[in-house]
């Protein structure tokens, strides 16, 4: 006999969201199991503190649970929408801690109690491939382009804050952001169809 949980597991993310909007707890649990890992890793990457990352992910997922019906499929995937909510909350936390510089490295493996998430589905394998491509593209970027992108995206710094921090003209920071993103985008475009 198929359980509600098993039925939910067979659904695509876009099909889970209306169920979450109707307060289906099994659908929400499947949604968390699919994206909770990367959400937590992202929050930890930005905040650099385990407790703060947990609070951030919990708040982000609760807001999705309470407002699941707001997902708009014309504006990207459920996963990217979810991660943008997590990222925005994490950056808000960083900014609210006035004067505290965000952690910009991910070197404290002891703080993590886990293993890399296993690939469960073909979709996840494709995500892994995309991640490998983007990591490859980021690593091939000139250091100065990679740095401004990482400071902006993972550090939550504005372009003028980055210019001050790195003692660069604002125009140089803008140019490096654009060139770096163009290269990553180009790498994605050349990937497997």
């Amino acid at each position: 006999m198929t359980t509600r949980r098993q039925k939910a597991e067979r659904l695509a993310d876009e099909e889970l969201m209306p169920r979450i909007g109707r307060k289906d707890t099994e659908a929400f649990e499947v949604f968390y199991d699919r994206h909770g890992g990367v959400a937590w890793s992202l929050a930890y990457r930005i905040l650099g503190e385990r407790g703060a990352a947990e609070d951030c992910v919990q708040e982000a997922f609760i807001s999705i649970w309470r407002n699941g019906g707001r997902f708009d499929p014309t504006r990207g995937s459920v996963r990217s929408w979810t991660l943008s909510i997590v990222r925005n909350r994490a950056i808000d936390v960083l900014r609210s801690k006035a004067g505290k510089a965000p952690k910009m490295t991910f070197d404290d493996d002891a703080i993590l109690e886990s293993r890399p998430a296993e690939e469960r589905t073909e979709e996840e394998a494709m995500r892994h491939e995309t991640a490998t491509e983007v990591r490859g593209a980021l690593s091939q970027l000139p250091g100065e382009q990679s740095k401004v992108i990482q400071l902006a995206y993972f550090g939550g710094f504005s372009q003028s804050e980055i210019a001050t921090m790195l003692d660069l003209p604002l125009g140089t920071v803008k140019g490096r952001m654009r060139l770096g993103l163009e290269k990553i985008r180009g790498e994605l475009a050349e990937g497997p169809a």
Binding site: G37, A131, F154, E182
Partner: protein, 249 residues
């Protein structure tokens, strides 16, 4: 706008996509985006690169306590929601029952007993209800008074155009020419009532034609409707200048 100004804006699109534009420049760029197809294309082209950035973080299994805490809150929420729904159902049943009972008691006249009359009354109600339903759906004008409809507009092309259509106490807010939003940004509507600004329930986003709509459940006493671009999930108070505002007379 000259070519240099345009190139400067184009350069800022990457920072906007990364959420790194300085707050004061966001509204200015969003207004430019509304009227510039080349910058819109640039934003659409770069967005997948930004969306892919979180995937570069090595995925790890989160602490199991996080899922336990989260699911406990979700189950508590779902239980509270179910209790609220049951309470509402009981309240609605309670509201209808005494009215009927009182009406039936009032009919205990002329030596007739209450119980047979109650049965008769129910038959009358069912038949009358059926007739009323048929008349109401037959396009007759015999319903309640029609809600008054008014329309309020603001904005000028090529900027964002806004229209509020008021029907009775509710309103429908429709926007056109809304520029594409950066990832993680949504539209949030606000109403001003007695000098106080309140959020409208329900966030929304423009479609591929730049059109967006939302409903304002209560327009009573509202003198101004505004729309701002906010982080996904919404905020309790506006964090940026309105991209559209409509005065309600």
């Amino acid at each position: 706008m000259n070519a240099n100004d345009h190139d400067r804006r184009l350069e800022e699109v990457a920072a906007y996509a990364l959420g790194a534009l300085d707050p004061g420049q966001v509204v200015e760029l969003e207004q430019h985006l509304a009227a510039c197809s080349r910058c819109q294309e640039e934003l659409q082209w770069l967005s997948p690169a930004v969306r892919a950035l979180p995937e570069t973080v090595e995925p790890r299994t989160p602490p199991s306590a996080l899922k336990r805490r989260l699911m406990a809150e979700v189950h508590a929420d779902a239980a509270a929601e179910a209790r609220r729904a049951r309470g509402e159902e009981r309240r609605q049943r309670a509201e209808t029952r005494p009215g009927l009972g009182e009406w039936l008691r009032g009919l205990n006249v002329g030596g007739l007993t209450w119980k047979p009359l109650a049965g008769l009354a129910l038959v009358v109600i069912v038949i009358a209800g059926g007739i009323g339903y048929a008349v109401g759906n037959g396009g007759g004008s015999g319903g309640g008074p029609e809600a008054s409809v008014s329309t309020f507009r603001s904005g000028r092309a090529p900027g964002v155009l806004a229209e509020v259509r008021r029907e009775g106490s509710t309103g429908r807010l429709q926007l056109e020419n809304v520029p594409p939003l950066a990832d993680g940004r949504v539209l949030e509507a606000w109403v001003q009532r007695d000098g106080t600004v309140e959020p409208v329930k329900g966030l929304f986003a423009p479609d591929h034609r730049g059109e967006a709509t939302t409903t304002i459940a209560d327009l009573g006493g509202v003198d101004l409707v505004m729309v701002t671009v906010e982080p996904a999930g919404g905020t309790r108070a506006p964090t940026s200048a309105p991209i559209a505002s409509v005065r309600i007379d």
